[in-house]
């Protein structure tokens, strides 16, 4: 069964990599370049997985995660963070984040990991 995945990332080439990973896994990835665009996409339709960068213009990943967590219509979605700023992890306390993926990441590992995650959904 094909799942809908939202990737929020201001760096276009990284966004493209994630899209290729989830396409390979047979799912439907969609990209947003900042928190504001991500919220717009979330309001247009439900997603199974959200992967977001933390530092982005207009609206950061932290703000996006908070809004999503507090919005009753957006529950039941698995949330992931993918960031190069691993020091920011402390700020994620209290946010329902399943895993923090540190940049740079290994494609083979992420393929394996998300194949399992998506199979369990």
């Amino acid at each position: 069964m094909s799942r809908r995945i939202l990737i929020v990332e201001d760096e276009a080439p990284i966004l493209a990599i994630w899209e290729r990973i989830f396409t390979r896994l047979g799912h439907e990835p969609m990209g947003a370049t900042d928190g504001v665009a991500a919220l717009q996409a979330l309001r247009d339709g439900p997603f199974d997985i959200l992967i977001t960068d933390l530092r982005m213009p207009r609206m950061s990943g932290f703000e996006l995660l908070e809004i999503v967590q507090d919005d009753p219509t957006l529950q039941g979605m698995e949330m992931f963070v993918c960031s190069g700023f691993v020091d920011d992890r402390a700020q994620l306390d209290g946010l329902r984040v399943r895993r923090v993926i540190a940049k740079p990441f290994q494609v083979a590992e992420e393929l394996k990991y998300f194949r399992e995650v998506l199979a369990d959904l």
Partner: protein, 479 residues
């Protein structure tokens, strides 16, 4: 005894008093035709009872004169006493005036007295002078040196070093300039020189000398010099310079550190592009797929370009490590300086949602120390970031602007409006800060301004601009 007015006056009074009975008796004898004999005069005395009264005249006049004389004596005594006190006061005043005069005058007077009395010889005086006094000929041979000088070069006495070459005492790296200085003085110039010596026992000292030419009786011109040990001053100066260098370095780290901290992480993004793109290709081949040749080439190109991007970011980091004090001013393209700074600043600006606009033409050349200008630019951008990051639409721009001839201007503008006149007036002062304790030292702008001035440029605030604008003026020609 006759000096006493009391006695003199009494004597005169008594004598004058005798004139009355004597005159009266003689007048009576003449009128009555009596002879001027003792019996005749006694007869008159016996006949005229009034004469008994007149006879007492010497007594009364004598007494009257006695009192007048005593009074005169008393007056004279007090006048004499006053005169004596006056003389004494005048003497004391003279002493006080001498003491009140400047000490050197007194000393000079003492010396003049001593010299006059043959107690002081010129040689002794030179030996007690706290400066080195020396005479050196054109070839550098020592002809005379006082005690202080001998102590400084660590020599026992003059005879042990007389005629020796003083060039040997000068530290080798200072020798050439000392030799040329000595020759110039012997040619008739007057001047001063700072140099280092190594004493006969190996002690190094910084010396400052004032020298003038002097013609010897046989016609040869030599150098006469007074030299002082300034080692302590030089040490203190070196310490101050070192501290200033350290302060600049610390300031640089503070200015750059903020951006550099984010930079290390920022490298993780391009690394993710490289590892991700390569990883996808690996996954495709591992699964036995034959990816399209065009797409593979695109991926490889992306990997290559991203590696170059990482190199540029790392280039920006050299501002941290390069020893900037020694690097000379060079001709450099202004847009290159701005680009380097942008590489370093952009990640942090982007993650704070700040738009960063650059408009600097490619052809503008400046003569400067690029690392220091980058540092100043970074400092201004850091301040701007703090000012605008909470605004609705935050932006910072760096543009070239019109400047006085010989200068090129960079205008660093942000979305904010700096209006507080107190802040505008004082913001270029050291330790002035609007940031909270622990957020800034308040040295940024003042150090930046000092840096620009040391580079022959300027750092100013453009109060007329609509948005907060700082101007950096950089020389475009060798000054």
């Amino acid at each position: 005894m006759l000096r006493s007015a009391q006695v003199r006056y009494t004597l005169i009074g008594v004598l004058f008093g005798f004139c009355f009975p004597l005159g009266a008796t003689l007048l009576d004898a003449y009128l009555r035709g009596l002879p001027w004999t003792r019996s005749g005069l006694l007869q008159i005395q016996a006949d005229q009872p009034l004469l008994w009264v007149i006879d007492t005249a010497p007594l009364f006049l004598g007494l009257f004169a006695l009192f007048a004389g005593r009074r005169q004596d008393e007056l004279m005594a007090s006048v004499t006493e006053a005169l004596e006190i006056n003389t004494q006061l005048e003497a004391e005043n003279r002493e006080l005036a001498v003491a009140a005069r400047a000490e050197p005058d007194v000393r000079e007077e003492l010396i003049r007295t001593a010299v006059g009395e043959g107690q002081v010889r010129l040689g002794d005086m030179l030996d007690t002078t706290p400066s080195c006094f020396k005479i050196v000929d054109r070839a550098g041979a020592l002809l005379f040196m006082n005690r202080r000088g001998l102590d400084l070069i660590e020599a026992e006495d003059l005879s042990s070093v007389f005629g020796a070459n003083v060039y040997d005492l000068v530290e080798s790296s200072h020798r050439a300039k000392f030799v040329s200085f000595n020759e110039r003085v012997c040619d008739g110039e007057t001047g001063s020189l700072v140099f280092e010596i190594v004493g006969l026992n190996g002690t190094r000292r910084w010396m400052e000398t004032w020298a003038a030419p002097h013609q010897l009786p046989q016609g040869e011109r030599v150098q006469v010099a007074i030299t002082n040990d300034i080692s302590e001053r030089v040490t203190v100066q070196e310490q101050v310079e070192r501290q200033q260098r350290e302060l600049r370095q610390a300031q640089k780290l503070a200015a750059v550190g903020e951006f550099a901290a984010g930079l290390g992480h920022e490298i993780n993004n391009p690394l993710a592009i490289i590892s991700g793109t390569a990883g996808l290709l690996v996954a495709e081949y591992a699964d036995g797929e034959q990816p399209e040749a065009d797409r593979v080439r695109q991926d490889l190109e992306k990997i290559e370009a991203t590696a170059i991007r990482i190199r540029n970011i790392a280039d920006g980091l050299k501002v941290l490590t390069r020893e900037d004090d020694e690097s000379p001013r060079v001709v450099v393209n202004l847009s290159e300086i701005v680009r380097q700074t942008g590489e370093l600043c952009e990640p942090l600006l982007r993650s704070n949602g700040v738009r960063f606009e650059v408009d600097v033409p490619d052809h503008l050349e400046v003569v400067t120390n690029p690392v220091q200008v980058e540092q100043v630019l970074m400092n201004l951008i850091s301040n701007a970031l703090h000012a605008v990051r909470d605004l609705e639409d935050p932006w910072i721009s760096v543009r070239a602007g019109p400047a006085d001839s010989g200068l090129v201007r960079l205008r660093v503008t942000d979305a904010g409006h700096l209006l507080d006149p107190e802040v505008i007036e004082r913001m270029l002062d050291p330790f002035f800060t609007t940031k909270d304790v622990g957020e800034g030292t308040g040295l940024g702008l003042s150090v930046s301004r000092a840096l620009m001035e040391s580079l022959g440029g300027l750092l100013t605030f453009d109060g007329a601009a609509e948005n907060t604008t700082f101007c950096i003026d950089i020389p475009s020609e060798v000054t």
